[in-house]
Assembly symmetry: C2
Amino acid sequence: MGRYGKRADLIVHEEEPFNAETGLAALASSLTATDAFYVRGHGAVPEIDPAAWRLHVHGVVERELDLSLTTLREAFRERTETATLQCAGNRRAGLIAIRDIPGEAPWGPGATGTATWTGVALADVLALAGPLREAAHVGFEGGDLSPEAEPAERFGGSIPLAKACRPEVLLAWAMNGEPLPPVHGAPLRAVVPGYIGARSVKWLERIEVRSTPWRGYFQHVVYRLLPEDGTPGPGAGMPLGLVALNADVLSPADGETVATGPVEVLGYAFAGGERHVARVDVSLDGGVSWSQAELLDDLGRWAWRHWRITVDLAPGEHEIVVRAWDSSAATQPEDEAALWNPKGYVNNGRPRVRVRAAAA
Amino acid sequence: MGRYGKRADLIVHEEEPFNAETGLAALASSLTATDAFYVRGHGAVPEIDPAAWRLHVHGVVERELDLSLTTLREAFRERTETATLQCAGNRRAGLIAIRDIPGEAPWGPGATGTATWTGVALADVLALAGPLREAAHVGFEGGDLSPEAEPAERFGGSIPLAKACRPEVLLAWAMNGEPLPPVHGAPLRAVVPGYIGARSVKWLERIEVRSTPWRGYFQHVVYRLLPEDGTPGPGAGMPLGLVALNADVLSPADGETVATGPVEVLGYAFAGGERHVARVDVSLDGGVSWSQAELLDDLGRWAWRHWRITVDLAPGEHEIVVRAWDSSAATQPEDEAALWNPKGYVNNGRPRVRVRAAAA
């Protein structure tokens, strides 16, 4: 058992703050086990006394609220959603392989996972507070102080009010049917399905209804897509929010030697936003011809989709290329190199895995 | 003046049914003039007596409705939206250049346009009808009989109930502040912002609230994305709905000779669905390096975005490549060839324009 109750097979990118991704084996399950779920932290895990903890709701609202966990549980309807969380840095390793990105963790395909989340709808809490006419964004602030910002600041971010009022956005106290572990944000975290993981703020202590987007470091300076030659700075680049269509191969592993003949290729795809995965294609000839993979368990509109296909491999070297399609019939861009950006976000280029088939 | 009150500079692909696209000059305006707006028809323009016309609303509803135009105008709040319509076959010419697509019109970049639409919210009409618990889709049927289906059938299609209940979906009787012209669906048409044009059914006569998607030819057989080697048939392929992120260059024209030195490049981009265009990049070196174009008039979340950049061209041949990004930080796929499909839908590959710069 590793730190924070995690399995030993997580790939730890950083010990303090703790940052670790899910291994390929655990990613192959439809639902990701809590002890295998990735952790993206920006500061030390705060120690919070649940009895003393309050959620403060304020800003452009009719009525400020200070809610205890007991009140949240008793005053609102409990809801459960199955949702994929995905870090904006998922698959960054592919970009780093093109050109180094100093100071950023080389996340592979495991900065994502899917769990069932239980809590109350943010919409119900907002309805009690009563957003005023100028309300347009809902900000979240956690109890974790991050030294990454200078001066250090609490992690936070906002989502548009229209999204915040949708029933799938939760304030969650449970994950996969168990109490939320401290490393995942206990006693309460936001869960914003379809948005980058950074908006699912952990250790939630403050909700601010605002007329403008969050001005804190983690939305106004980072978690923004810069052009290739851009420099991070306040307001520079495009703010991230919705997750872009993405996919990766989980098996076989890149560089693996497999037996010639039928080989099962397995992976995941995630459409993000309010879209779903409509198709996944696999090519063995560099994208000249494609075969459709089978889409596996449908966990609903907020979850990734696993896919599988059996390909027949002759002896020798092969490259497996994958492209997912979303419900708008859009597919992934081909080339990772042209997606390189200074912070290494949103690598959603078509995954490529090189394998060698050898006689068994 | 051409047929149906259209300008002579429309590019007519078919006279009967009338199919014509907007020329490059008219596409360069933020709002597309009605007399330049593209027409995609599947049958003869029906002759409808507005006084006798009724909109029949039925299916899984509490109360069937038969509404006259007068009742629609008097009983519901009038709404206006600026929205881009885009045919799923827009830019098909690029796919046909790779491999022929017999029987399908070679639409260029002009099977799209943006207008202001005035009418009532479909949501308000549905609220009066009262969708029952099993309601999940809202179907539209026009008064136009299409011989393309065998046997001939009226044009139609459906959208999810959740979309139908959004305020931007209109039943429109006016376009750009004038009564809807017959060729655009008078007396009443659906306008479904963010969806393929085929769902904005013209000459609307019947709305059917359903538990399942539309089973008619124009949704169950065509307007579906097939794999490259697929064959159209009932239920084959992926149903289209949301418009995929797309863009094209309007000036200079492909093959044009321009003067060396600064050259203005102008085009449009459209994110479709509920997304917006976040960035547009232009490359002169085949995608190795990119410059950001300026985004022009913001007409709101349901409209395309024009963009402009001035590039400096030395004497000789140049290829201008463009990629748009949507608000999920997804960009367009590089290669049109890999997007080829048997009906020629959704060509959203990065546009490429070849120009020759010559001393003035």
